[in-house]
Amino acid sequence: MKSSTHAAISVTVALIFALTVAIALIKLGFAGPWVTQNINLANMFLTGVPVPHSCCFSASPEVVTSVIWDERGIDTFYETSVLFLAIIGTLYVLAGTFKARPTPEGMTLIVRVISKLVAPIIIVVSLSVALHGHLTPGGGFQGGAIFAVAPVLLLAGWGSSKLLSLGFERDTLLSLRVTGVLLIALTGIGTLIIGLLKGVNAYVFLNQPKPQAPIGYLGWISTPWGNIVLGGTLILLNIFEFLAVAAGFTLAILAVDSSGGGKE
């Protein structure tokens, strides 16, 4: 078959699929230019997540992060596992092509100085985004993705010898990655273990106490100067997810770099 036939078929299939989805969404009233109210499930989360004693209280004003780690926490844990397996697969495919010595070459003085100045700022921004994930937009995934830009800059400017001298060894990063995923799982089943020991009902990835499950994590600390919001599991899971994503992407980029650029 000619390539133009392929193009015509694929465009037709894509347009039919997209039109079907769009018409279904618009006809059912979920989307469209005239919609003035959110759907009921969205309104339940928007009115429930920041309000104490409601159905889905998460002790956090950030609805998106709350739904990611509280209502669909086990789903997010398995997505983290997918990420873990993809990076393990990357390392497996590249195995046997690693160079023995690190690449010594770098770029000119301007690139070196600028990358050395900008990389710490990127790391601080990523930490801020991850640690305030339960208060402002951001979270573990976003912080980890921002962190991965700093090793790319340092690799471009200085070569991988600089990263190795800073302590970004392959084994260290792999163990950090495994630690992150393991701690996410432990945080998820923590309430279950405590519930078994105390003999009360509990769920996996439970954040705040529910009417059926009277135990939960520490949501906020009351001080005379106001509440210090912790968000229960949200801050813990954000930190662990940041560890996992940042170490995983740094590991993968380091592996791709040290497998050797250029043709043999």
Partner: protein, 135 residues
């Protein structure tokens, strides 16, 4: 039909066109890296269509309750939360897509290393040339 409705439908149509371009490029371009490039464009289009489905024209703020500070945050009462829900967009499509972006990056990393190893094995990443070698 108002001007806002026309612009909403126009954005939907261009995003569907973006997805069609991505799928077409994935199918009919022979170079592996071009296929991966078009895969990223296709996933961008799908993500944007999902976010557009959760958007309302009358909404004025993202689904984050305002005033998130480390110390001194006051949890709202049900009336304030209802007012907030009336002016915020739907959070559920965004929830589904935050993880999809990062997972998409990991999958792209895996596919790019596969393409890199194919280039090392065959000396080319053009699928037409690799097919001709086999004949």
């Amino acid at each position: 039909m108002t001007l806002e409705a026309i612009m909403w439908y126009y954005i939907l149509a261009t995003l569907m066109g973006l997805g069609a371009v991505g799928l077409c490029g994935m199918v009919c371009r022979p170079h592996m890296i071009k296929k991966l490039l078009m895969l990223t464009i296709f996933s961008d289009a799908i993500e944007l269509i999902a976010v557009l489905a959760g958007y309302r024209i009358s909404a004025t703020q993202p689904p984050v309750y305002p005033g998130g500070v480390i110390q001194g945050f006051v949890f709202p009462n049900p009336q304030e939360a209802a007012n907030f829900a009336n002016s915020a967009v739907d959070p559920l499509p965004q929830v589904l897509i935050v993880t999809a972006i990062v997972i998409g990056l990991a999958v792209l990393l895996f596919l790019a290393t596969l393409a890199s190893q194919a280039g090392r094995k065959f000396g080319t990443q053009n699928l037409n040339k690799i097919e001709k070698r086999g004949e």
